[in-house]
């Protein structure tokens, strides 16, 4: 039987070729995603580790946690005198004082904004760091800076150029050296600026304070012992960590953005695999139908149903294994492509040699093989049921008719899914929405063969204008409901995901815009960078407030805190001035109560956690760890959206829990009668020396918020494009196979006078029709899923659903055109069939 399996697979290799490609593509996606993210984390680990190569111990102020949302938290400065105390401790060989933090870089008047942080640090060579000068010399004076090679290359900076570095203060510095970091040119997504200690302190506004102290132990000293001793002498105000741990923590912070990418990539790879599974099941189904006579002959010759089943599954195993192997190989290469893709979506990943782990290879191989075999189980079981007498029957197997049972099961499933979706959406239970979505998909899969012919009839009506070719194309899809359904289903699934993402995206943007409505400020000054990557100097707010055109200002800050282990965000406001620039609606308590400490929470949070005014909430802050904050007010959710977070503190409370001293936004209310344009010019002039201060009105602020969403959406859409590609391969494959099956019919049509052009039109029309059915079903499914998800997320709030009609029409049009493209090859093949051989084919 195994010999038969092998020779079968080889004999049908052209029919299985596209299946193989589908398996390979899906696996390549998975492997590519894993390799890419593995590589990125390894490179980050390496870099941070080599950057702190020689440091045994790092001393910093204690913090509740190390980093949040990809950024290390800021800690209180250390007194300069601490350096001597540590140097004097027995067992410490060398110490160095470090001042470092976030900064802004301007080259030739233009602000450089990497995706990650711009790091300002204190220069040191070996043995403390792995910085190696590639050119120039170390920074020694008050106006000297060393830049990483990567940034210098990207920004075309050479030795002797002047660049502007701004943190709390701003200075124009001369580039005196270019450094590599470890073996690399720089840190991914980041700019690295290194000055001497004094200049760094000056720029960061630290005075004589330090951000950390690095120590190297004497040769004969046990480092963990030294750490324990130092920790004991310094007390709990200071944290003593091993240099490697500190580096690992820094690497972890940098890796957070990658972990999000990994989830996205793997989820999409999963989608690609599921789409591929439909294609695989379909191909096996068709190939086996075509071979039913041969299978019956086998049965007649004494093969058991079980042997047939094993033989077919063996074939699937062969295809799966080789496809997965091919896909794994391709996937390693695809990692490069994905890196480029991510970069074009504004998410730069570290370069460097690829990391291919055994785990990656195993996942790729197992996922591909398992998927193929599982997808082939259905067709294989049908094949095993082929009766021996069918060998004797001359006629072609009648196309499978759809059963009543299928309709009933499908409808019941559908009803349950809809009911569950409605309940889950109204109660705001996301797991419920997810389960309903899965059920809905199941219902659509079951109903597919029943729905497909109906859809084909109505969607395919315009095809009648093509005459006989159009009519025959329509009939072909109607006559083979199961095949049409599973071919269309693969594409529909991919299109549903695209629709889902598009609708969620535009709705999220609409929600963000709605949040902005609660803001009444005329203008706002915001950091042109993400808040946590270096906000506005407090100086900006003061200067703006002093302008004659300005009536009122109110500043806000952002901070991260740990909510029972998970990172969450909060906003700090001035409760007195905020009402002058924003309409905050309280459902309980007052905003002004914040002055005496405590927290104001969003209505949805209050409901979810059962909190009311007077209750306490445990919040873990970076500076002072876990604290109990009293809930002093509850604001409605629209106000929370306007504040960007669900938790609001006063600026005073914030200062006790955070070391950060940067503003996120300065809201500005202008005096009556002041011209907006002129005011803008005045504001711009007032903060001219703060390059990162962007002045925006309501519209621009909304657009800024939307831009980030857009980038992520476009990345996901491009990646989903691969799933669409696999689905289109499915159309090509199914058509090519059905043309083999219909050889005699085609020969007949050609004999009685169908021209090649008409034949091509017929096959093309069939491809377009399948794509159109898929587009209709996919968009409908995507809309339902998005509506359910948005309703579930909104819970008690009014549901905001924005359907990007133009975008969806474009998706449908693209799908139909792509269908046309998918039909090209089979159409050409059909047209090339020799009339006589076609007639003669048994």
């Amino acid at each position: 039987m195994w010999r038969l399996t092998l020779s079968n697979a080889i004999a049908h290799r052209s029919r299985l070729a596209l299946t193989w490609v589908a398996v390979a593509l899906g696996v390549a996606f998975v492997v590519g995603g894993l390799v890419l993210t593995d590589t990125s984390s390894r490179v980050l680990d390496d870099q941070f580790r080599t950057a702190a190569a020689g440091v045994d111990l790092t001393i910093r102020s204690s913090a509740g946690f190390d980093s949040a949302m990809g950024v290390e938290v800021q800690r209180d400065p250390l007194p300069a005198t601490l350096t001597d105390r540590i140097a004097g401790t027995a067992g410490v060989a060398k110490v160095r004082a470090v001042a470092g933090g976030s900064a802004q870089l301007q080259v030739r008047g233009k602000t450089v904004t990497p995706k990650g942080p711009t790091l300002l640090g204190t220069w040191a060579g070996s043995p403390f760091t792995a910085y190696t000068l590639r050119a120039g010399h170390a920074p020694t004076g008050a106006d000297e800076v060393v830049l990483d090679v990567a940034t210098a290359k990207a920004e075309h900076v050479t030795l002797g150029d002047r660049i502007t570095v701004s943190a709390t203060a701003s200075r124009t510095l001369r580039v005196v050296g270019l450094t590599q970091i470890g073996d690399a040119d720089g840190l991914p997504n980041s700019n690295v600026l290194l000055t001497d200690l004094h200049t760094a302190q000056l720029l960061l506004g630290l005075g004589t304070g330090l951000t950390s102290i690095e120590a190297i132990a004497a040769d004969d000293v046990n480092v963990p012992d030294l750490r324990t001793r130092l920790a004991a002498t310094l007390g709990i105000t200071y944290a003593v960590t091993s240099g490697q741990d500190a580096a690992a923590a820094s690497a972890d912070a940098a890796k957070q953005s990658i972990s999000y990418l990994r989830i996205v990539l793997l989820a999409l790879a999963g989608a690609g695999l599921v789409v591929g599974a439909f294609l695989i099941a379909n191909t096996f189904g068709i190939v086996l139908t075509q071979r039913s006579r041969e299978l019956a002959l086998l049965r007649a010759a004494g093969a058991t149903g079980r042997q047939v089943l094993t033989s077919v599954l063996g074939e699937a195993l062969l295809v799966g294994l080789t496809g997965a192997a091919g896909g794994t190989a391709v996937g390693v290469g695809a990692a490069y492509g994905l890196r480029g893709l991510a970069k074009s979506a504004g998410l730069a990943l570290p370069g460097g040699a690829l990391t291919v782990t055994g785990r990656t290879l195993l996942v790729g191989l197992i996922a591909g093989t398992l998927l193929t075999v599982l997808a082939a189980v259905g067709p294989a079981r049908r094949a095993a049921r082929v009766a021996p007498v069918q060998a004797m029957r001359a006629s072609d197997p009648a196309p499978a008719t759809t059963k009543r049972g299928r309709l009933i099961t499908g409808l019941v499933l559908f009803a349950i899914a809809v009911a569950l979706m409605v309940v889950a959406a109204t109660t705001g239970s996301m797991p419920g929405v997810g389960a309903a979505a899965a059920l809905l998909l199941g219902a659509v899969v079951v109903l597919g063969p029943v729905l497909a012919p109906r859809l084909a009839r109505s969607v395919g009506r315009p095809l009648n204008r093509l005459g006989v070719p159009g009519q025959l194309a329509r009939e072909a899809t109607v006559r083979n409901p199961r095949r049409t359904a599973s071919t269309a289903m693969a594409l529909a699934l991919a299109l549903a995901l695209i629709t889902f993402v598009a609708v969620i995206g535009s709705s999220v943007k609409a929600i963000a815009a709605a949040g902005g409505e609660a803001i009444t400020a005329d203008l706002m000054v915001q950091s042109s960078r993400e808040e946590m990557l270096g906000g506005l100097s407090p100086e900006v707010g003061q200067r703006v407030a002093n302008l004659p055109q300005v009536a009122d200002t109110s500043t806000t800050r952002y901070g991260h805190w740990l909510d029972q282990g998970t990172t969450s965000a909060l906003t700090a406001v001035d409760p007195n001035t905020l009402p002058k620039v924003a309409k905050v609606t309280m459902t309980d308590g007052t905003l002004t109560a914040l002055q005496d400490g405590g927290v104001v929470i969003a209505d949805s949070v209050a409901k979810e956690r059962g909190l009311a005014v007077g209750d306490t909430l445990a919040m873990t802050f970076p500076r002072d760890g876990q604290q109990q904050l009293r809930v002093v007010g509850v604001m409605d959710d629209r106000s929370a959206q306007a504040m960007s977070t669900n938790y609001v503190l006063s600026l005073g409370t914030y200062a006790t829990h955070y070391s950060e001293n940067v503003d996120a936004t300065v809201y500005v209310a202008l005096k009556d009668g002041v011209d907006g344009k002129q005011a803008r010019v005045a504001l711009r002039a007032a903060v001219a020396d703060f390059p990162n201060a962007a002045i925006r009105d309501q519209g621009e602020a909304a657009a800024g918020r939307a831009a980030a969403t857009e980038q992520v959406i476009s990345l996901i859409t491009v990646l989903l494009g691969f799933a669409v590609l696999i689905a289109l391969l499915g159309i090509t494959n199914t058509l090519a196979l059905s043309i083999v099956e219909r050889t005699r019919e085609i020969g007949l049509l050609r004999a009685v006078g169908m021209t090649r052009a008409q034949l091509r039109r017929m096959v093309g029309a069939e491809a377009v029709l399948v794509a159109a059915i898929a587009a209709v079903a996919g968009v409908a499914l995507g809309l339902v899923l998005a509506a359910g998800t948005l309703a579930g997320l909104a819970a008690d709030n009014p549901v905001v659903i924005r359907v990007p009609a133009v975008q969806l029409i474009a998706v449908v049009a693209t799908a139909v055109l792509a269908g046309l493209a998918a039909g090209l090859v089979p159409a050409r093949r059909a047209a090339k069939l020799d009339v006589l051989t076609a007639i003669a084919t048994q």
Partner: protein, 261 residues
């Protein structure tokens, strides 16, 4: 383009008023080198218009190949095929297709119908492919003659073999083609359905003057024709006018013996 009168004609023994199709020294080979088969080896034949011609010969003698050549379904290696005044070998693939659609009809041994179309749609197929509508009176007459009235909306799968072949005859006749080619149309039918089909073909010639060329190896089937052309080893070797089963059998027995088949 060569005219009909340009070449002499060895086997056109009877002086027919018009010739619908003519094969002149047609050679057709399959395969290459040692494996070459000369399916037609200098075949000459004239198909008289308005008559029912049967083509007979042992299996592998080139009957189907000859019909395919005459119908422009296949290209020939040398010689000439004339359909009315048209030299087929000079036509492009597309023109041959259009010629088949507009001027020829076909009935094959099996698988004659498009499964997705109803009987009525199958009958109208050559016309609808050309973007035309069938003449309703002619269609009604054909359907009545073939006894398909109750079956028009059935699909091929719902029809018996005999009914399917009658639909195929209807399709072959609907466009009033110059010639209808039938390659063993009764090969898969029981004798009663076969006889009925043969009567339809004969009636088409008698009533409408339809030219028909039918391949068969059954002497009884051949006896329905007005004349029989005998093929052996890719050549036309004999002809018989007004055949009866007995005269046909006598000739075939005579032909088969030397071959030892």
């Amino acid at each position: 383009m060569t005219t009909l009168h340009a070449t002499s004609f060895k086997h056109a023994s009877a002086p027919f008023p018009t010739i619908a199709a003519r094969a002149i020294d047609v050679v057709k080979t399959y395969g290459r080198d040692e494996a070459t088969v000369r399916a037609l080896d200098g075949a000459n034949v004239a198909i008289p218009a308005g008559r029912f011609t049967a083509v007979m010969g042992p299996s592998g003698s080139g009957k189907s190949t000859l019909v395919h050549a005459l119908a422009g379904l296949d290209r020939i290696d040398s010689g000439q095929v004339l359909l009315g005044g048209t030299d087929l070998s000079a036509l492009s693939e597309r023109d041959r297709t259009l010629l088949r659609r507009d001027r020829l009809g076909f009935v094959f041994q099996s698988f004659n119908l498009v499964p997705a179309l109803t009987a009525a749609e199958n009958i109208a197929l050559p016309l609808t492919l050309a973007g035309k509508k069938p003449d309703p009176a002619w269609q009604a007459e054909l359907v009545a003659m073939l006894g398909l009235g109750a079956r028009l909306n059935h699909r091929p799968a719902q029809l018996s073999g005999g009914q399917q072949q009658r639909v195929a005859v209807g399709r072959a006749l609907i466009a009033r083609p110059d010639i209808v080619f039938a390659d063993e149309p009764t090969g898969n039918l029981d004798s009663r359905s076969g006889a009925a089909l043969l009567r339809f073909l004969r009636d088409a010639t008698r009533s409408y003057g339809q030219t028909i060329v039918m391949v068969t190896h059954d002497p009884v089937a051949a006896s329905y024709a007005d004349q029989v052309v005998f093929l052996a080893d890719g050549r036309v070797v004999d002809e018989l006018a007004n055949p009866t089963p007995e005269t046909v059998l006598a000739r075939t027995a005579h032909l088969d013996t030397p071959d030892g088949k």
